[in-house]
């Protein structure tokens, strides 16, 4: 029987003629991606399925996308193996393989006071939500009816008249959802304007590194200490209400 070979594929490979190597610069910040040069081509691996359809990948010209099945590489959408698995290559992180060149120091530059705004922008990369903010009136009704297995992975804390729940899979109830990026909880559908600066922002905002930073869609944020979170149980919920 015919089966979909791409099922269960966790990473995709990308092949690009060496002379277009510079087109890869936009994915240079992706931490999971590794790269190697083989003859006239560069190979990139570690592209996750949800990154595959992102703007960054789609806008790279002259590329070929492969996926791995057993010991062969298949062209995306193809059913016949195209290449043997590259085993003898020395992979390096993409940001090492594509070093960025610093411009020469500009002695006449006076813009040192300029600042970068901490912004989030709508993103096309899909990730699974990790947290949600729910009205307490909603929780009052739903918590006592929840199977315990669904409550087990969840931790919670109170934010005024709302509750913040963290843990996957989330409870299936209406609420504002967030996904996690390091210690940041970004509204789902958004990403940093400059993802490469996220660890830098994290260092500044999150001095003791023990907080979650919850970012609103209007770019404001607030901290919630991690030790404020408690396991979600029916009894714990009843006692705190």
């Amino acid at each position: 029987m015919e089966t979909d070979l791409t099922q269960g594929v966790t990473e995709y490979w990308l092949r690009l003629p060496s002379k277009y190597k510079h087109k890869l610069s936009q994915i240079r910040v992706w931490k999971t991606v590794r790269m190697v040069t083989d003859m006239d081509d560069v190979w990139v691996r570690g592209i996750s399925p949800n990154q595959l359809n992102s703007e960054e990948i789609r806008s790279i010209p002259f590329k070929k996308i492969y996926f791995q099945h057993e010991n062969a590489l298949f062209l995306l959408g193809g059913n016949l193996p195209e290449e043997r698995l590259k085993t003898a290559l020395l992979w390096s992180p993409i940001d090492k393989a594509l070093p960025a060149e610093m411009p020469d120091y500009n002695f006449n530059y006076f813009g040192v006071d300029e600042k970068i705004q901490f912004n989030i922008v709508p993103s096309s990369i899909e990730r699974s939500a990790k947290a949600q903010i729910v009205d307490l009136t909603m929780l009052d009704a739903i918590i006592p009816t929840m199977p315990s297995i669904r409550l087990q992975p969840i931790e919670w804390t109170l934010l005024d008249d709302k509750a913040l729940l963290i843990g996957t899979p989330l409870l299936s109830i209406p609420g504002k959802t967030f996904w996690q990026q390091q210690q940041f909880l970004l509204p789902t559908g958004y990403d940093f304007e400059y993802p490469e600066l996220s660890s830098y922002f994290n260092k500044i905002i999150n001095q003791n590194s023990n907080d979650y930073i919850i970012v609103n869609t209007d770019n404001t944020y607030y901290n919630v200490p991690k030790d404020k979170f408690k396991k979600l149980t029916i009894s714990g919920y009843r006692l705190s209400r």
Binding site: T145, P147, R150, S172, S235
Partner: protein, 213 residues
């Protein structure tokens, strides 16, 4: 707490530390002792229902004390026994009350430890009379035996009746999932409820569970 009250001591110890206090003299209980025991069990039950979903059924004193007596005698006879098999029955009377969510949950306060004792008895002597007696009683209170592979017969009609109580239904299904008792899910009513509990996350929580029948 009255330190002379053997059965209360035993159950208290069992509930707080998971250990048994055993006595070598012939086990017997007085009604005053049982009264104290009932108070203690009620307190424990009240603590537990905080974590029960929906509205928990009322405490059933009779069932709780009956369950405690079962486990008390079973444990005593596990360690030390002078009685002939035929005399054992008088220690393990049938439960006379009605089988309801309330009595199942109240008895479970102590009865949930009984399968462990049955396991111990089986390792000592597989043909022990006591095992048959205990298994017979546990047959009714299956909620306490979930996950222990005691091969009890499931009566779906009784379950349908008990499952009319949302609290009991949720607890029962929760326990099947928590203990991953796959053999129980062969029964349609249990399977249905487990499928509802796991929703679309059955792969994540319990990969052995197949949601389509």
């Amino acid at each position: 707490m009255n330190t002379k009250n053997n059965i209360l001591q035993t159950i208290h110890h069992l509930r707080t530390s998971g250990q048994f206090v055993l006595y070598t003299n012939k086990p017997k209980v007085t009604s005053a002792e049982l009264n104290d025991l009932g108070d203690f069990l009620e307190q424990e039950y009240e603590n537990e229902i905080l974590n029960y979903p929906f509205e928990a059924p009322k405490f059933n004193r009779e069932a709780a004390i009956w369950g405690a007596k079962m486990i008390y005698f079973a444990a005593q006879f596990l360690a030390h026994r002078l009685e002939e098999p035929k005399d054992l029955n008088k220690y393990f009377e049938d439960f006379k009350g009605e089988l309801s969510p309330s009595s199942c949950l109240s008895a479970d306060v102590s009865l949930r430890f009984l399968p462990y004792i049955i396991k111990e008895l089986e390792t000592i002597d597989f043909d022990d009379w006591l095992i048959k007696i205990l298994a017979k009683h546990l047959q009714k209170f299956q909620y306490s035996a979930i996950g222990h592979e005691l091969e009890l017969e499931i009566n779906e009609e009784i379950l349908v009746k008990l499952f009319q109580d949302n609290c009991f239904k949720t607890l029962y299904t929760d326990r099947v999932i928590a203990k991953k008792d796959i053999s129980l899910t062969e029964h349609k009513i249990i399977h249905e409820n487990v499928a509802i509990h796991l929703g679309e996350h059955s792969n994540h929580f319990w990969s052995a569970f197949v949601s389509e029948v």
